[in-house]
Every structure is written in structure tokens, then in C-alpha cells.
């Protein structure tokens, strides 16, 4: 990391870029929570010392360049298919640590079947589910997770549940199944929540190392660009509105 100000002697580094992240700059928009989530995944990989045995599944969408941001092996999956691809890798080589990183359009719409069935089989994988209630990369269209009344480019007058249905609560659905081990919903809009999300991601990876089965961490995230908000407003929107529809906390935790 190029240092602009020399650090005087007597100081120790307490925070910086994790080793699992490359030097490639993120392509996420300014203030987007994706960047925090990506970093937390890298921190978990660092902390568990598993970089050399981890394979990530990069999604379609805003995190499509995830393989460039991180230093582990990667497979690029088709939209929604990440959990099936992860299943194939993990079954072929159970010694690898396999994680998917998916948005809500990917995981909760086109990939609903792949996600539910991987969870129901109790595949020993880790799923990072970034839920910002919108299709970010394609231009801010309605996602299954979009809140009632929320304006998107395909619900210009707000999502009307009578026309478009209700926000899909994937984590609640998965928590009803016998297969999954750990299902939790977290957020990263402030420091305390980031600390909790970090612990949840760490646990989801540790579960896999211990052979415990399917773990999914849903993270309520922002899309300042398509929500037409500043990053600060977007964070407050998550805290004040989104968490009402999607309550935070563990939905399933089999010890």
C-alpha cells in the first residue's frame, strides 16, 4: 500500500487491507456496502489461514469482478447458479473451502432453486448473500427483495404487492428447512453492526472447516446509486426501514 505520510517510529499497524484482498481497486460505486462485505470475507479468510485452500464463486452483478479483488482461486458462475457450482466443486474436492458471494437478484430470484436445494442438502459450503433490495448493475430494477412502495426503474410508482408480490424472505424460508446449519441476517451500516457481521461471516466459514454444513450470512446492504441516496442516507434507510422488513439476527444456528 503506497504510504503518503511516513508513519513515525513507535506506531503499530492496527488496521489495513487483508492479505486475501488484491491490490485491484474495487469497481463498486462510492459508499456501496459491497466493499465492506468483500473485505469482511477477506478478513475471515486471513483469520482462519485458509487462503491457499479457498475457492470463491463470483456472481453476476456488481460483484462480478470479485475474482480480481481477491487472491484465492475463483470460478465465475452464471446468474443464480453459484450454489450448484459450489456443490460441484465441494463434492469433487471436499478439502477445499468453498464460498459463494451473491446478490439478491442472483440468489433470491433466478437462483432460488439452486440456493434452497443446496441448503436443503446441507452442502458444506458458505454463502454470502448481499441483499440491497434491487438489481444494481443492470440499472436499478425491482428485485424479489424490494420493499413495498419502493421505487425502482421497473416499479416507477413503487412496488405494489398486488402486482409484484411481497419481499421474499429467503433467510426465513431457509431457516425452516432441516438441512442448513447456520442462517443469519446482519447489516453493515455502522461500526457495531460491522463487528457483528464480521463474526457471523467468520462463523460461517468456521462451520465449513468443522464440517457442519450449509451456512448462509445475509447482509442488508445499500445501493446509494440506484436508491438515489447519499451513502449516509442509504445507511440510515437500512437502519430505519429495511431492518423492519428484514429483522436482524440469527434465524437458525445448529450447534
Amino acid at each position: 500500500m503506497p504510504v503518503e505520510t511516513a508513519v513515525p517510529a513507535g506506531y503499530i499497524r492496527v488496521f489495513g487491507k487483508p492479505k486475501a484482498l488484491s491490490d485491484v481497486k474495487y469497481t463498486y460505486c462510492p459508499g456501496c456496502h459491497h466493499g465492506i462485505v468483500t473485505r469482511l470475507v477477506a478478513e475471515a479468510i486471513d483469520e482462519l489461514g485458509i487462503l491457499e485452500r479457498t475457492v470463491g464463486i463470483a456472481p453476476v452483478g456488481c460483484a462480478v469482478f470479485l475474482d480480481r479483488f481477491m487472491n484465492c482461486d475463483f470460478v465465475q458462475a452464471a446468474h443464480g447458479r453459484a450454489c450448484a457450482v459450489a456443490t460441484g466443486i465441494k463434492r469433487a474436492r471436499p478439502e477445499l473451502v468453498v464460498f459463494t458471494y451473491q446478490g439478491d437478484g442472483d440468489l433470491a430470484a433466478i437462483g432460488t432453486a439452486e440456493t434452497i436445494h443446496a441448503a436443503n442438502r446441507g452442502e458444506n459450503i458458505t454463502v454470502i448473500f448481499v441483499n440491497n433490495g434491487i438489481y444494481g448493475m443492470t440499472g436499478g430494477e425491482m428485485a424479489p427483495t424490494t420493499l413495498p412502495g419502493q421505487r425502482t426503474t421497473t416499479t416507477p410508482w413503487g412496488r405494489d404487492p398486488r402486482l409484484h408480490g411481497y419481499p421474499l424472505k429467503i433467510s426465513e424460508m431457509l431457516a425452516q428447512l432441516d438441512g442448513p446449519t447456520y442462517i443469519t441476517r446482519q447489516a453493515v451500516f455502522d461500526y457495531p453492526h460491522i463487528v457483528r457481521a464480521r463474526q457471523a461471516i467468520l462463523k460461517a466459514f468456521r462451520n465449513q472447516l468443522e464440517g457442519k454444513g450449509f451456512s448462509l450470512v445475509e447482509i442488508l446492504s445499500t445501493c446509494p446509486t440506484n436508491w438515489r441516496m447519499s451513502p449516509q442516507e442509504a445507511g440510515r434507510w437500512v437502519a430505519e426501514h429495511v431492518t423492519k422488513h428484514y429483522p436482524l439476527g440469527d434465524l437458525k444456528d445448529v450447534r
Binding site: 500500500m1 504510504v3 503518503e4 508513519v7 513515525p8 466493499g35 473485505r39 446509494p224 451513502p231
Partner: protein
């Protein structure tokens, strides 16, 4: 000597300002400097107030901040 130092990697910063809002001590602010992508980057406006708590680093979505803390006298952390 302040307790903490925040090093901003100028080219990674996108000027979102989340760190400025999150800092409990009002250390950070926008500088008058722009990076090659055209983002107005953050700097330590009040370096003397920094405790090296790293909250700014945690909330930074672009991993643009590196935080250092003064070693306690007489030993390492």
C-alpha cells in the same frame, strides 16, 4: 504525538465520506485534493484527536484506510 494515525490510500478513496461520519472524534474531513478518478479524497483534518480506534477503517467500503496506533510505553500490544 497523537495516539493514532490514519493513512489514506488516495487512489482507493472514492470520497463517500462514510468514515468522516463514523469517526467518533471528528478527526477526518475532505481534503482539497482529488485523485486520478476525480474523487475528492479524505484526510486527517484534526490529526491530534486520533486515537487509532480504527472505526473509520471498519466502515470504509473501499479499504482505503490504514490505521496505526502508538505502542504503549514499555512494551508492545
Amino acid at each position: 504525538m497523537p495516539k493514532g494515525i490514519v493513512i489514506v490510500e488516495k487512489e482507493r478513496c472514492k470520497g463517500c465520506g462514510l468514515c468522516i461520519e463514523a469517526c467518533p472524534f471528528g478527526v477526518l474531513g475532505f481534503s482539497s485534493d482529488y485523485n486520478s478518478s476525480g474523487y475528492r479524497v479524505v484526510h486527517m483534518e484534526h490529526p491530534e484527536k486520533c486515537t487509532g480506534c480504527a472505526v473509520c477503517g471498519y466502515v470504509c467500503p473501499d479499504v482505503a484506510l490504514e490505521i496505526y496506533r502508538r505502542e504503549p510505553v514499555g512494551g508492545t500490544v
